[in-house]
Symmetry: D2
Subunit: 354 residues, 4 copies
């Protein structure tokens, strides 16, 4: 029985890198040796007990690696293939998947939302030397030669989620877009809005460094909410409100502000993870008669999504490597969580190398 | 100077039928002699002071009539043409209209929502002998011979709004749909969901008569919220939640229940007029990660919308005349408001004949 | 080694019911005992050598049956479950499937169209006692109690294809639709257009019996092309052309007529299988400037599509059993082909019972 | 009665700059003094008699100017406003416009395609000192200070059409796109595909200069059809075919090649003006079963379309001025036609200054 090192959740504020059993591939599964992964904001929520997972779980959900084991029923791959796997791993074969709601993949339970997110949530995740990939046929995206691990690792979650904020909001040529919060996901939403042809992209963040990165990622204008009335300024800049507002923080306050920024017929595209009640305020939403839309999106996954994003990177349309500000080894991952959690040192994303 | 009789708002709980100036048509306008109109729930809100309009305004927004006057710049019509005019009268030529957000027609002010609703809101309305129709070229829908005023008058608002609940929710063949409240708009939403191919339409209302009408209009199953836990029952009937929930009441409670009925990836199509804050509860919405959508719709108007709905009636796809439960003369309209406001006598919609 | 009886293609005009090996289920597969299947027009093309398949293939692609064998990796089913399987069996896990082009499922080859159609085309089909179902997890649709085999067998191909003509054409409330040819698929397209809210459905067929069935399935008006100039009559009835024209024959002539029936901005939804060149004539298509669309659709398959269609039948929205005009045993299937090929006796679809 | 100079069509190969009556604005109309216009490929077709217009017509349809006269019923503008007017001038108020098919605006005749194109086609056009703008309320797009005439004049037709090739083809992030022909419209289609997030844009043209401009406008790869088998090369580069092929030439041969380049489920977005029969060849289109789409688009117009494009230019997303390779005065326009018609001197678009 082979062992591996992995970052295991032992309880609130208690993660430990330790020896655990190395997985092997069953029917329809694959195992990859992780070559690069990351720490995500969601992992921090788990560590702090804000999002519950079971004790003993390996966390992490942004994996790049090399195939070491292929189970029966997986074809078109060989051991040694270098692959990216999305944070969300749809089976492709359930009711949700066959309705094009891949992120809501139920794995047999049609009634639960978010079922497509399994890594580091309901099954072992990527902060380990090896990772078992379920529904491998639908989830292994080969990485072409000439594209590095660093270029693609953030596609697994951050970029797929951020771009989807613009995609679900149906950003189109000439649109005005405001993106609330310029953390890693918000920065990718900013880049996504730009990539899809928005004529004005406004980034909002209280952190000066993040505002400066936002301008590099595609924001035409940035707003510091500590200095300006964001809603008033957005309305002024856009002559009455944006076509699409993207919420990338998960705060009830920014959710409300995003709604207030919309022009009649506009769309709030929500990416945030909310705890506690959201409110739709009196003064936004036109009493329900403004033809407004609120759309929410969980990170799109699956190998075809990853293939498209890899091609977008390969074509030079976007460069995500500036977001990988720090690197830690797997054995030193707890220090990485500490840095990431403190937001020190202009950290954006932390790369982990097993 | 010719006069006419009209129902004028004089203040909260004070409407009076009186003599006022009869309008004449300016550039791009038409005047129609009203042959049939109605009282709408929105008119009750105005009467009760729950929706503010200015004193002296003629209210009402569901007009059928005969053209008596055509201003310069209106072509393709002659005096004597029998027409239906939608409750919402888009100009067709502003930013919102040219973006296909006709109901949010700004008439020069791009920043205000609901601008397309003018009759009985910002300009004189239909509870009168004559009505001035703005942007007549975009808003006069000819009624074919063989189609009666009674068959089409409810298309102006009730049916256009109700159907739009199903349309904005993108109901498609095989969908499951729940419609909260079976008043006139909810009944039309029920009919609309059926018309668009939903395989299961569930109607919710506390009133037994309305539930019985709902079954005639297309509901497969009706639920009395006083007798059953609606959310639990809907989830049971649908194996986990509906594809589309339509809110047709305007209550924060039904808004919440509608959200709770959605399956992952489902859409809440909201038709209600809300006063006060709406809440998105903790236990619905999957913390923002369920790929849910909330869409709001203001009654689609304009002559092409009306033409399509008239053709739908003419083809026998829907019969709205059972909803016209009572008729009053214009001079007796105050009695009509009294009956309508009290919900007595199984009233659904009241026809007004000048 | 167990044997079964099956209808095997031996060459042009040579099919024989004979003993062949009974299949067993490998990884991700299932075997069902066929309880009801049919003969399809495509099978006739195969028999006549108009569509090439390899010698030795069992043909047929509309299967209802009972699960007898489940391979590794298939969960949520038990032996004895009664199921419908679509004619098209997407894997759910390839590039095409994960792009929502399930019918173009490539099974590993992204470049070939029509890859989702495997039964009786590239693998053994349903005119047999037993059928091996590939990618079973994505393709076994349970049939609820109270729904008969006869009610659902035509959903596998005919109804899924016919409805898709209306769906791909984006038929909506109030549309005008013409359907060229009222064979089984055209009849289902007619029913589908009606089901989705079209206000006027015009059915075209030279056969009087089929025109009479068309009226029962939802056509408001039928046209005999031998008696009337179809394009002129459609333009007259619709005041200038239809919103959607559905081609359900596969003839270059009806393809051209369908184009000529479109109003500016209209859509030709093509279901036909064409051999030989199609032409887009001078006098249709407005030199390419009419904002016309031509969309083609291969029968949507997969268990979720089948589930939705079964629910539509169960709700009583459509009854397909009148289309099953004749029944033969598997052993007598050659007589069935003979009757079906001759179009004698008002045959529409032939049921086959092993 | 005031006069002006204008370029008048007198018959095949006979245009003359001469004195004609200067227009004045009636109800709903405006007059603008042209400050910049162009010669379009369509004008060449007219000159050569390939597209018939009536003798005596002023041609040209890409106008930038200053308002000199406003008719009754036009509000929100003052004399002196600098405006761009689209080549297509929808009324906003007819059946087609109210169905969002603005380019098919019927002006009272619902049955004719292309009705939205009036300038230099059915009414006097822009190669003149003054231009009468019909439906002015829907068609005058103000040009902000700081944006030059040269920056926006090509938005009226070339860029709106070219971009629409990508928009109607629904190009999205990660798509592969091939654009056939890199004339002014094809170059804008190339730019549009890039602007909307395509990961690979392939430009096809036999002219070396145009291929080099294509690379500047956004093509990743260019192909010379005289040197390479375009279909084979596109399939090789894309691993089996593009998501979207844009035809921007109007030749039956490139139409066929574009079809052949599609992957299953792909879309041919056609911008060309075709004379003579188009054919859909045997070896493309998968006998009608490939889930392919063919969409055609006439240049989107109206003031909101122009506003969006102006904002896209103002934001620096695209610079069209390199396409304006030559400038002529109105009086010397015949020399401009001569140069443009001969394709000499790497001409792309010719600016005309009255």
């Amino acid at each position: 029985m082979e062992m591996m090192r992995a970052n295991v959740f032992h309880g609130v504020n208690d993660i430990r890198v330790e020896e655990v059993l190395r997985p092997s591939a069953g029917v329809g599964e694959a195992v990859i040796r992780i070559t690069l992964t990351t720490i995500c904001g969601t992992d921090l929520h788990i560590l702090r007990g804000e999002y519950p997972v079971k004790t003993g779980l390996i966390i992490g959900h942004e994996p790049v690696g090399v195939i070491t084991d292929l189970g029966p029923g997986v074809s078109g791959y060989v051991v040694g293939d270098r692959v990216l796997v999305g944070a969300i791993t749809p089976c492709g074969q359930c009711r949700a998947c066959l309705s094009a709601h891949w992120a809501q993949c139920g794995h047999g339970d049609d009634t639960q939302a978010m079922g497509g997110w399994r890594f580091g949530n309901t099954i072992n995740g990527a902060q380990a030397e090896y990772l078992l990939v379920p529904n491998a046929q639908a989830n292994l995206a080969k990485i072409p030669d000439g594209v590095t691990d660093e270029q693609v690792v953030l596609l697994a979650d951050i970029a797929s989620t951020g771009f989807s904020g613009a995609e679900s909001g149906r950003v189109t040529v000439g649109d005005t877009v405001v993106v609330f919060a310029q953390g890693p996901i918000g920065l990718c939403a900013t880049a996504g809005a730009r990539l899809m042809g928005a004529a004005l992209v406004i980034g909002v963040d209280g952190n000066e460094h993040r505002r400066s990165v936002a301008k590099k990622m595609g924001a035409d204008i940035v707003i510091d909410p500590n200095e300006q009335d964001v809603v008033a300024e957005v309305k002024r800049l856009t002559g009455g409100g944006v076509d699409v507002a993207i919420e990338a923080l998960g705060s009830p306050e920014t959710f409300k502000s995003a709604l207030r920024c919309l022009r009649p017929g506009g769309t709030l595209s929500s990416l945030g993870v909310y705890s506690g009640k959201l409110q739709i305020p009196d003064d936004a939403f036109a009493a329900g008669l403004g033809d407004h839309k609120i759309v929410t999106t969980l990170c799109p996954g699956g190998k075809e999504r990853m293939r498209r994003l890899i091609e977008t990177v390969r074509a030079g349309r976007i460069d995500l490597t500036p977001l990988l500000t720090h690197t830690f080894t797997l054995d030193d991952i707890v220090s990485g969580y500490d840095l990431f959690g403190s937001c020190r040192d202009n950290v954006l994303k932390i790369a982990i190398r097993p």
